[in-house]
């Protein structure tokens, strides 16, 4: 009797453990209920990947292969669409209601714009957002528009100070923490090694750390005010201009500035650049650079107010034209692509910064030098205005950067012109200074 009792108790406890495990599994993700038979899910999905086809694309294709191991009947048409073309292409197709991809990797600024035009599914209530609290707050903010959520953050990024360790060591300088220190460090590099110290790219996005550094911003969305021509921004641009005039930075060029910056950095002809984690793989594989061991990453230098860099990155979104029958498959695919494991895989392979807190706990991510170097950078990043017009801020800003940094025009006058353009063409309802 006792034995029977014991046996029964053991049996019950095992059964109990099973139920609990089953419950736990059910709780951890409601997909598991559907995933009970992933093979029953059958659909053909098109995915526009806007990542770099050569450096980053293969890793994503590997992920798709993994996905198909669990979901053999969901066929993914992987299409690599150049980042520069994707926004227009998607809008054309979505407006025509035909030819848009089921899933798109959209830049953070595009999401509110597409959402305001009705081109995206809102994901509220779906299992994609079941564990929303696992996402970092700053990148998650980019997926929201008008009280609804239209995407999940795939990758976050920001600008940082990238440097060539070997050159910096040769010059015997510390890694700079302020723009002033960067100026002396860059000049020291030039004196001691004969190689140029710094390349400041004359484009709108790349002038933001200078403006944020003095406490400036583009617009005040809460107060509905255009503040791009503030004193702080003028001061920030003067810092950038001084770096170029003093010879600390190479004189930037008006076309292909970005490409020139990368070529020079990869060929060890410049020691410091300001750029984001998306180039890590490119630098790593550059012959003669010395691999990732030679790449130093530090937060952008601080101005008189703080050190600030703009937040960037990409979100996965689902086109609103996807028929409802395919919705479950699309959700399953995005869920897989953006699971903590997949994010950890991409972080390991490409050095991309995960947007899930849990992904940072994965051992391979923790030990990844590039990711841990960029983590504080991304956490300190300044949120951009998440409004549909957000993407249009950069055209006028690019012109301003060329005028001020290359053509020596007055910073205040150029910024005033930007403010006028914002008022006339971008956000007419906002007040000006």
């Amino acid at each position: 009797m006792r034995r029977i009792n014991k046996g029964l108790a053991a049996l019950t406890s095992v059964a109990l453990a099973f139920t609990i495990a089953a419950c736990g599994e059910e709780k951890s993700g409601s997909t598991e209920t559907k995933a009970a038979d992933p093979a029953s899910l059958s659909a053909e999905l098109t995915w526009w990947d806007t990542s770099d086809a050569k450096n980053e694309g293969p890793a994503f294709q590997e992920l798709i292969a993994n996905f198909n191991k669990t979901y053999p009947n969901v066929k993914i048409n992987y299409q690599s669409v150049p980042f520069a073309e994707a926004q227009n292409k998607f809008k054309t197709a979505a407006a025509a209601k035909t030819g848009a991809p089921d899933i798109l990797r959209a830049e953070v600024a595009w999401v509110p714009e597409f959402a305001s035009l009705g081109y995206l599914y809102s994901l509220d209530g779906s299992e994609l957002l079941a564990d929303e609290s696992d996402y970092l707050a700053a990148p998650m903010a980019s997926t929201k528009f008008d009280g609804k959520t239209y995407g999940v953050p795939q990758v976050t990024d920001s600008l940082a100070l990238l440097y060539n360790k070997e050159l910096v060591q040769k010059a015997g300088v510390e890694v700079p923490k302020t723009w002033a220190e960067l100026k002396t460090a860059a000049q020291a590099v030039k004196q001691k090694t004969g190689v140029d110290g710094l390349y400041v790219n004359a484009a709108g996005y790349f002038t933001l750390p200078f403006m944020y550094g003095e406490g400036g911003d583009l617009v005040d969305t809460a107060g509905k005010k255009i503040v791009v021509n503030s004193e702080q921004n003028v001061a920030g641009l003067k810092v950038a201009k001084d770096l170029i005039d003093s010879g600390a930075s190479v004189k930037p060029s008006a076309t292909d500035g970005y490409g020139t910056m990368m070529t020079l950095f990869k060929e060890k002809k410049v020691a410091f650049i300001i750029n984001g984690p998306w180039e890590v793989n490119n630098i790593k594989s550059a012959p003669g650079f010395g691999g990732v061991e030679n790449l130093g990453v530090a937060p952008v230098p601080a101005g008189s107010a703080k050190a600030g860099a703009p937040i960037g990155g990409h979100d996965y979104v689902i086109w609103s034209g996807v028929p409802q029958e395919k919705a479950a498959a699309a959700v399953a695919f995005v869920k897989f692509l953006n699971s903590a494991e997949s994010q950890a895989f991409l972080a390991e392979k490409l050095g991309l910064l995960p947007t899930r807190k849990s992904a940072y706990d994965v051992a391979s991510v923790k030990s990844n030098a590039v990711v841990s170097a960029f983590k504080p950078v991304a956490e300190a990043a300044v949120s951009r205005p998440w409004i549909p017009e957000g993407g249009q801020f950069f055209g006028p800003l690019d012109q301003m950067a060329t005028e001020v940094l290359i053509q020596n025009k007055d910073a205040k006058a150029s910024l005033d012109a930007v403010a006028n353009k914002y008022k006339a063409e971008v956000v007419p309802s906002y007040a000006t200074n």
Partner: protein, 333 residues
């Protein structure tokens, strides 16, 4: 007309009768004209009129729909009225563009004029010179012709990228060659006119072959007897060129100059790819500037139509003026 109002009966009966008589007599002609008229109406007149109409509204991508619907992935759809739906705004777009409040219309127009005049002048001048050289009997004439037509055969964007790279400030061949003769590298894209220079050079390289081929054709249609007679009269080569070649080329020249002007005026890819409008949009011509203003970022359909109407008007005024000049000179064209 007055007869119709006074006595409607003949008009009502008259017109159908006339039409029927015409149909009976020329039915085949009518049947053949109708599809053409329909196609023209659908392909040309409708978009043209629609474009005019849109330029008087404030239609953009964001406000073209009266209501915006948001679908939820879990099912269901919420539609709400678009608070900023488009409306008729009269001449606002034209006022904004012409006053410079939106875009840089006048700078683009100035750029376009420089771009077109310099481009066509060099196209015609060089094309004529090369055509004269190649029209003579010489060895390897066929080879020269092939080589000179080559730029034309290469896709325009390939040439554009090639020239852009040649002019690259740091890695370009042109600055390297300047270095050989001791000239400092030029930052071609840093100022408005040097940047424009790179685009104009590219365009000249691309456009000369067409002019050369067209003028060569024209020259070969001039009768040899004229030259022989002139030679007997003792005319110098220059005199022969001025008195026979140029007048003989006149019908061809007028046509190719008109064509060249319209093509260069609307030549999009060179500016777009070579200078990218740099520095700071200062080398934008009307077509590229209008494209950027209207299609980069939020698509502004009304603004695009406004630019379209303005560009069309400029070209119309030009061709009317050009025809009048020709007619004054006795050219029937």
């Amino acid at each position: 007309m007055s007869t119709v109002t006074a006595d409607p009966a003949p008009g009502r009966v008259g017109l159908p009768t006339k039409l029927r008589q015409s149909w009976d007599k020329n039915w085949s002609a009518w049947a053949m004209v109708v599809p053409v008229v329909l196609v023209l109406a659908i392909l040309i007149f409708y978009p043209l009129i629609n474009g005019f109409w849109i330029s008087f509204t404030n239609q953009t991508e964001a406000n073209q729909l009266a209501e915006i619907c948001t679908k939820s992935i879990t099912g269901g759809e919420v539609c709400k009225e678009n608070p900023n739906a488009w409306s008729f705004v009269g001449l606002d777009n034209y006022a904004n563009v012409l006053s410079g409040k939106v875009g840089e219309f006048w700078m683009w127009t100035a750029n376009t004029l420089v771009w077109t005049v310099v481009g066509v002048a060099f196209h015609y001048g060089l094309g004529l010179g090369l055509a004269v050289m190649i029209n003579r009997q010489m060895r390897f004439r066929g080879l020269y012709r092939v080589l000179l037509v080559l730029p034309w055969a290469v896709p325009a964007f390939v040439s554009a990228f090639a020239w852009k790279f040649l002019f690259n400030e740091r890695f370009g061949v042109i600055n390297e060659m300047l270095g050989w003769v001791g000239v400092d590298p030029v930052a071609w894209f840093d100022s408005r006119w040097t940047s424009m220079f790179t685009a104009v050079v590219t365009n000249i390289w691309l456009g000369v072959p067409f002019m050369m081929v067209a003028l060569l054709g024209g020259m070969q249609s001039i009768s040899d007897e004229l030259y022989e007679a002139a030679e007997i009269d003792g005319a110098s080569p220059w005199q022969r060129f001025r008195a026979i070649t140029l007048p003989g080329l006149r019908p061809v020249s007028m046509t190719v100059i008109l064509l060249g002007t319209i093509w260069t005026f609307n030549m999009f890819p060179i500016i777009f790819l070579v200078t990218e409008g740099q520095p700071a949009g200062q080398t934008e011509i009307l077509v590229t500037g209008a494209f950027r203003a209207a299609f980069e970022g939020l698509r502004n359909y009304s603004l695009a139509s406004t630019y379209g109407v303005l560009i069309l008007s400029i070209l119309l005024v030009f061709s009317v003026f050009y025809r009048r000049v020709l007619r004054k000179q006795g050219e029937v064209w």
